[in-house]
Symmetry: C2
Subunit: 462 residues, 2 copies
């Protein structure tokens, strides 16, 4: 039975309060990368990460990009013949709006019922930070790590990692690694450590429909003018058929089915639709007919409205025929769909369904490729053992419906396998009000990631 080395376990237990206070400091920085008003905060978070890496015992540098900076920490004391592992995380967070739906303010972390509530607690500050603390445990107790480690923390994950691919390309020597480790995902259930075998990709769009040059009186003009809100609604309605399949021509052409074995594994996971529906507060589920819920979430592409705005939305009634209507729509993609190709199909579909009398603009906001792991090799073996050591059981292999656009980039540019091991939990509200991370998962996750380095070097305790 693998177990965590005593010195690491002791260090992390003894320093628990300090570590959690530091995490709270990190969570207090409103590093919302999507909102220019928070640019200074986003930079402050980068600087905070740099100091935290240095405190752990790594050499750290802030690298400028055309957007938010990238922070890189290095410890290369294991020598050039030892393997190197790259740890990736992100210090930026989703917008916190709507603010009035938070129980406690998003940037004033609060522990309630064993959960740390704050924007970024689980996505991804908490999970980035636990890696830094796992490294600190090694370097503070032993002054050494069993392999070379490079940590890269970006500030644009929530806005599509626009500058990261170019950065990784340019700095491929600095970032060269035998394996990549990322914690930005969730466990399948409490107490059930999980390794991710796939991620969905993304193509995110904004549709702007323009009708008359100004808002019109809906009485004086209604009935003779194409209403941009109605036109947009009809465009959106055209995107799915009656069975929930995406109706964009060619959308499924490049979808490569998941291996039967992976699908079979999904069916063994403890999941019931009734429980899932209860957790999110709906009476029944939706989506494509002919697939189980986990298949829909992990193996099937989607087309979802993320936002919609037109006309008067305030108190009371305003009889206006709006001049324009806007929607944000994104497609989740699965192997081997290509975000750029999906963008072309999406735009063609929108134009095809746009009536005369309005004009439409489709903006491609950002995208990322889908990804599938092959789950073999030293880093996966080490992860299985380290998770067992910390959680007392073997990890399950799961899919993930979300996107981490850089995973495919790392694999391709660095030619290294990527291990995705996350410590979130279902219902954590990652992109919604009242985001939380389990205190227990933060603590046990830190220990597991400390154990990972010993296991990777073949030096795990047992």
């Amino acid at each position: 039975m693998p177990k965590i080395a005593n010195d690491l376990e002791t260090f992390l237990t003894q320093h628990q309060s300090r570590i959690e206070e530091e995490l709270f400091d990190f969570l207090r920085i409103p590093s919302v990368s999507a909102q220019p008003a928070h640019n200074a905060d986003t930079r402050a978070a980068a600087e905070w990460v740099k100091r935290s890496l240095e405190q752990a015992g790594l050499a750290a540098t802030i690298h400028e990009t055309p957007g938010h900076p990238v922070v890189v920490g290095e410890w290369r004391g294991a020598g050039s013949r030892a393997p190197t592992v790259l740890v990736y995380g992100h210090y930026d967070v989703q917008p916190a709006e709507p603010l009035d739906l938070w129980t406690s303010p998003p940037f004033e972390p609060q522990v309630r019922d064993g959960r740390i509530y704050a924007r970024g607690s689980v996505d991804d500050k908490g999970q980035l930070f636990l890696h830094i603390k796992a490294l600190e445990a090694h370097l503070q107790t032993r002054s050494i790590l069993p392999c070379n480690v490079v940590v890269i923390a970006e500030g644009e994950e929530e806005v599509g990692s626009e500058n990261l691919e170019a950065f990784v390309e340019r700095e491929r020597k600095l970032l060269a690694a035998n394996a990549v480790v990322i914690s930005d995902s969730s466990m399948f259930a409490e107490g059930m450590p999980s390794i991710l075998s796939s991620l969905r990709g993304l193509s995110y769009f904004q549709i702007d429909v323009q009708g008359p040059s100004g808002d019109l009186h809906s009485g004086m003009y209604g009935g003779a003018v194409v209403n941009p809100a109605t036109a947009l609604a009809r465009i959106i309605a055209s995107m799915h058929d009656e069975n929930g399949h995406v109706a964009i021509e060619g959308f499924y052409d490049d979808v490569s089915p998941f291996p039967d074995k992976v699908i079979a594994g999904m069916r063994e996971l403890p999941h019931t639709d009734a429980q899932f529906a209860r957790e999110i507060g709906v009476t029944s589920l939706g989506g494509e007919k002919g697939f189980t819920t986990l298949e829909k979430l992990w193996t099937r592409p989607t087309c979802e409205v993320n936002g919609m705005l037109s006309g008067y939305t305030g108190d009371g009634a305003k009889t206006v025929l709006p001049a324009k209507a806007m929607a944000k729509v994104s497609c989740r993609l699965v192997p081997n769909q290509d975000p750029a190709k999906i963008a072309r199909l999406f735009e063609a579909h929108v134009k095809k369904f746009t009536p005369d009398g309005v004009t439409v603009k489709v903006s491609y906001v950002h995208g990322g490729r889908p990804w599938r792991a092959d789950l073999s090799g030293p880093i996966f073996d080490a992860a299985r053992r380290a998770l067992h050591a910390a959680f007392g059981r073997d990890p399950v292999i799961v899919g993930e419906g979300g996107s981490i656009p850089v995973v495919g980039d790392f694999q391709r540019i660095l030619d290294a396998p990527v291990l995705l091991v996350g410590f979130g939990l279902p219902g954590e509200n990652a992109h919604a009000p009242d985001e939380w991370m389990s205190v227990e998962n933060f603590r046990v996750g830190t220990k597991a990631m400390a154990a990972l380095w010993d296991e990777y070097a073949g030096k795990g305790a047992s």
Copy 2:
């Protein structure tokens, strides 16, 4: 040839600057009845109207209602055997949002190119005020009017005149009249005085679609949950067929066709679709196939989206699956559609097209009956002569696509014909940014309405 009496003409010309300064004072009061934050302003506008009526020589009173107050002015010096005419207008205005689309601030009136730009300039403060000044011209020059006059000004027209019907019912003795005159509409074109023969009615709704209990991450949940924004878009899309007809079952059942003569008159009016489209800034028009544009606007019912909101609508991208989606939708109605029956049909339609997995609430915000005039009798004859006197030509008979919910109420409760004679112009942005009223129409309209009283008493000059 009818003409305006010299004393009235002279008075209005000499007092022109003062009158326009007073109008600007009125326009500076942001009496937005829909917005509770403006409740004090709305009351201030009522008090302003009371003082203005008193200054003109009428006795005026503010009457409380459960909502915004009603102002009544009376001059009964013509004696109980003389006829009485009721003049109606409203002192409340539409919300001014979006503020950034105004060239000059909505509540700081400014004259540019012969137009008074301000929220409420034409709808309806300018048109209510010109009646008060026409009465002042009589009472200041002659100390007498040729008939009894009651002026009623309400503060809830833009929110559906919720309390007016009950007020008119209760105060039917105070308001008893042989005819009702309302100026809250537009002329068909510049220099072309117009009498309205019909108004559309209204049923205004808010649709709230509720999906999951909170916003969800569109990656982690997308594809397995019914998206409330998509559900709402499909509901809205279901409201029209491919030919622009409203697809709500039973919607057209009670529509009574307009007389052939009225339709024929419409076809003689100077209208081209190309010009109309150019004015509102679209390349082509829309609406129901098989009808001319003026028929669509004046004789056909509609179903138009007035506003739509869901999910994230700020800067950048947020990958959220929204918990809810909202739309404001209103139907314009024609004789003999009944707003309450349309509300039942509308709600049934929305429920029929709401998928499992979301819940829907349809709120009936307000409504009003459609109306058609028979255009005969002394008040109509007087109006034709007065308009000729002021504008130098006979009025045209036109329809109006907008709604003035109280017109039908006045006709029914007071058993009096209603004359609708308005001085707005096409493109006046009544419910949009940069609302304006023509300075010329304000001046000539005041003179026409001063002449109306002489003509109604058979004392017009010629």
